[in-house]
């Protein structure tokens, strides 16, 4: 029976990170991009917990992951509010169509 160690955690988090990046890069829907960002953040959280357990042997990593969860939640709140306003203004949240900020 193979014991589950640091390598496995890092593998999972790498996969999550990659999926998140792919989602960010490939989705045209803003909601999809937001979801990708959530995946990247969670990958970072898993990394923190794994390093906390196997390398540092104290609780600071786990406390960091708690912060990440809270920050991710508040970030989603702000982002969704912005998206809502964009949708109400132009009935779309396709990021290809939202390009006014470019000069």
């Amino acid at each position: 029976m193979m014991t589950i160690g640091l390598f496995h955690y890092l593998t999972v988090s790498s996969i999550l990170f990659a999926l998140g990046i792919i989602a960010i890069l490939s989705r045209r829907n803003a909601i999809g991009i937001l979801l990708g960002i959530e995946l990247v953040m969670n990958a970072a959280g898993i990394n923190f917990v794994a390093f906390s357990r196997y390398v540092a042997s104290d609780l600071s990593g786990q406390i960091f992951s708690l912060f990440i969860i809270v920050i991710a939640a508040s970030e989603v709140v702000v982002a969704l509010a912005i998206l809502l306003r964009i949708y109400m203004n132009r009935q779309t949240i396709d990021i290809e169509d939202v390009g006014e900020m470019k000069c």
Binding site: I33, I95, E100, M101, K102, C103
Partner: protein, 669 residues
């Protein structure tokens, strides 16, 4: 002393400045400012003069000086020198100036440039006082030119008349010719003495025999003296530069009295007096000849003129010639005394003529006559001054002229080869009496020739007659002979020991006073000559026994020569003025054609082409390429860089990741 001198000197200057800037706005247009200033000057001059007189000290001397230009190897000082000559001059200048100021109140009343006239008069007084106060040749040259300027301004005072402005120019230019000589003389002295220009030091330098050098066989000292005398020739209207003075009569008559009779023209005599010991016997002989010739020359010209002021002008030239002759033959005291007495009686004569002109509105004596009853004060003043200038005993002119003639006579007896000087002088004495009485007879006696002139004539106001009365009193001889005060304070300076070979050994009388014997002969001769002149004049112009017309007809060629003033003006016109104008025209032509067209305009292609190409270069290379080019290339670069900003958030993210990957790769390697 210094305070009083500065007051005497600078009050007229202050009056000038006030008059120039504020004259029109002052009460009575400011005539009281000038009169007050000159009056104060006169009072202080008198105070100083009588203080000095009380001391009976002919060697009275007071000096002061300030540094002016101070360089390591060259120093120029501005100094004042006051001695008996200076103080006498100060009294003469300020007195005549004061009387002329007062007289002008009446004479110039109503003139539209009334305040400016007084400004000029005060300016002249300032310059003239400065001229006699300074102690070196450089400073005297400055004031010499300043009085010339004042004379120019006043002769041309009625400048809207072309004759007046021409006369002013003529006076200025003619005197300038003499001044060039004077300037050269000063330069010679300056270089020869290494910058010693103060009279006293210069005389000491000459006395020490350090002034050496020769020029064309004459000693440099003589040359310098004669050149200095050229200045006096111009200023004192001596032959051959006498031509400006008669024309200067275009100025207001009081100006003629002040400047062209009493003071400025005496500046030349003053210069010779001041520099007397500097002149070598040769130079003095030259002065004597010029003086005596001028005296006779001008007296003959006065015989035929009918313009009352011109007659007086020629008479002035003649009397100035007398003074020069007196100084030249060594009669120093006589020359200077004649300056003083002449200032009084000639100023009086001019002011009288002004009074007559004021009343008659004409200067032509042929239209006057019989004015005696109408203008008694003017008549008596004229008569007294005329008696004085004619050399009638008991009048001031007799005293000084007698001394002059005695000097000339004793000079001639000592140096028979130069007897011409004395002969000229004696003939002039007779002529003077003749033409002066001619003036009096034609103006005041006989039947009125022009009823219009006669009926308009009236006595002048008190401001004009008061100066006449004062000057008439000063024309009496006892004023100058009382207690021999003049000889007591003015003494002939000891001649310097000129190096042997410089002096003309035969000129004996230069050193000592005239003999008593020649005095007696002179008195008899001069009274006889004056009497003859007056008598002839009486026959010609009062009795009419002899007719001037017939005589003029009989001696036609001589008469014409005199009327045309020996054609001196014409001579200058043909020899100097015309060639000069032709030369000027040629120069102007040369300037236009060669300098302007060829030389100056010749540069046009070069400069305009250069300008064109440099303009192009500026436009293309500097402006378009460098300046605009920088801006354009930056703008273009901006446009290119801007393309990265697509606004696609995923593109940005890819780029960021790519960058991250590159950084990680670099770190790992």
């Amino acid at each position: 002393m210094l305070e009083k001198l500065l007051l005497i000197w600078l009050l007229p200057l202050a009056a000038f400045l006030i008059q120039v800037f504020l004259g029109k706005r002052l009460y009575r247009r400011g005539d009281w400012v000038s009169c007050g200033a000159v009056f104060t000057s006169f009072i202080f001059s008198c105070v100083l003069f009588f203080n000095m007189l009380g001391e009976h000290n002919p060697h009275f001397k007071w000096t002061t000086s300030w540094d002016w230009i101070f360089l390591p190897d060259f120093q120029l000082k501005f100094g004042l020198l006051v001695d008996t000559v200076t103080l006498s001059m100060l009294v003469v200048i300020t007195l005549v100036s004061l009387l002329v100021h007062v007289y002008s109140i009446g004479y110039m009343a109503g003139d539209k440039l009334y305040s400016r006239y007084f400004a000029y008069l005060s300016f002249f007084t300032f310059s003239m006082v400065g001229l006699v106060l300074v102690d070196n040749l450089f400073s005297i040259y400055i004031f010499w030119e300043l009085v010339g300027l004042a004379s120019y301004l006043l002769i041309g005072f009625w400048f809207e008349k072309p004759s007046a402005s021409n006369a002013a120019k003529k006076a200025f230019l003619t005197t300038r010719i003499g001044d060039i000589g004077m300037f050269l003389g000063i330069l010679i002295i300056f270089f020869n003495t290494n910058g010693i220009l103060e009279y006293e030091k210069l005389f000491q330098y000459v006395a020490d025999g350090k002034f050496t050098g020769e020029f064309l066989g004459m000693s440099l000292l003589t040359v310098a003296g004669i050149l200095l005398f050229f200045g006096a020739i111009g200023k004192s209207a001596q032959f051959p530069l006498h031509i400006w003075l008669p024309d200067a009569m275009e100025g207001p008559t009081p100006v003629s009295a002040l400047i062209h009779a009493a003071t400025m023209v005496a500046a030349g005599v003053y210069l010779v007096t001041r520099m007397f010991v500097f002149f070598t016997p040769d130079a003095l002989l030259f002065i004597a000849y010029i003086g005596s010739f001028t005296a006779l020359f001008a007296a003959t010209m006065a015989l035929t003129h009918n313009d009352i002021k011109k007659v007086l002008a020629y008479s002035t030239i003649s009397q100035l010639g007398y003074m020069m002759m007196g100084l030249g033959v060594g009669a120093y005291v006589a020359g200077f005394l004649h300056l003083v007495t002449h200032a009084a009686f000639k100023a009086s004569l001019f002011l009288c003529s002004g009074s007559v002109i004021h009343a008659a509105h004409t200067q032509d004596m042929r239209q006057m006559g019989g004015l005696k009853q109408k203008m008694p004060i003017t008549f008596w003043a004229t008569l007294i001054a005329t008696l004085s200038i004619s050399g009638v005993p008991f009048f001031s002119g007799f005293v000084s002229k007698d001394m002059l003639l005695a000097g000339a006579l004793s000079f001639a007896t000592e140096n028979p080869q130069h007897a011409l000087i004395a002969i000229f002088a004696f003939i002039t004495a007779g002529l003077t009496a003749f033409y002066m009485f001619r003036l009096v007879f034609m103006t005041f006696f006989g039947a009125p020739k022009d009823p219009k002139v006669f009926s308009h004539a009236h006595e002048s106001p008190l401001t004009m007659t008061l100066p006449l009365m004062i000057l008439s009193v000063l024309s009496f001889g006892f004023i100058f002979t009382y207690n021999h005060w003049f000889e007591a304070i003015i003494q002939k300076p000891a001649l310097l020991n000129y190096q042997s070979g410089l002096s003309v050994g035969s000129l004996k009388a230069l050193g000592h006073a005239p003999h008593d014997a020649s005095h007696l002969i002179t008195v008899i001769l001069s009274i006889a000559l004056a009497g003859t002149g007056i008598f002839l004049s009486y026959l010609f112009y009062f009795k009419g026994v002899l007719s001037a017309k017939n005589w003029a007809h009989r001696f036609q060629s001589m008469y014409q020569t005199l009327v045309h003033l020996y054609w001196v003006d014409e001579l200058y016109e043909w020899t100097v003025v015309r060639p000069l104008i032709r030369l000027n025209n040629f120069m102007a032509h040369f300037d236009n054609r060669v300098i302007d067209d060829r030389l100056v305009d010749g540069w046009v292609p070069l400069t305009s082409n250069t300008a064109f190409y440099s303009g192009d270069f500026d436009n293309v290379a500097i402006d378009q390429t460098l300046v605009d080019g920088t801006g354009l290339s930056i703008a273009k670069g901006g446009m290119e860089v801007r393309k990265i900003q697509t606004g696609r958030i995923q593109q940005y993210l890819i780029l960021a990741l790519a960058a991250l990957c590159i950084i990680l790769l670099i770190l790992m390697l």
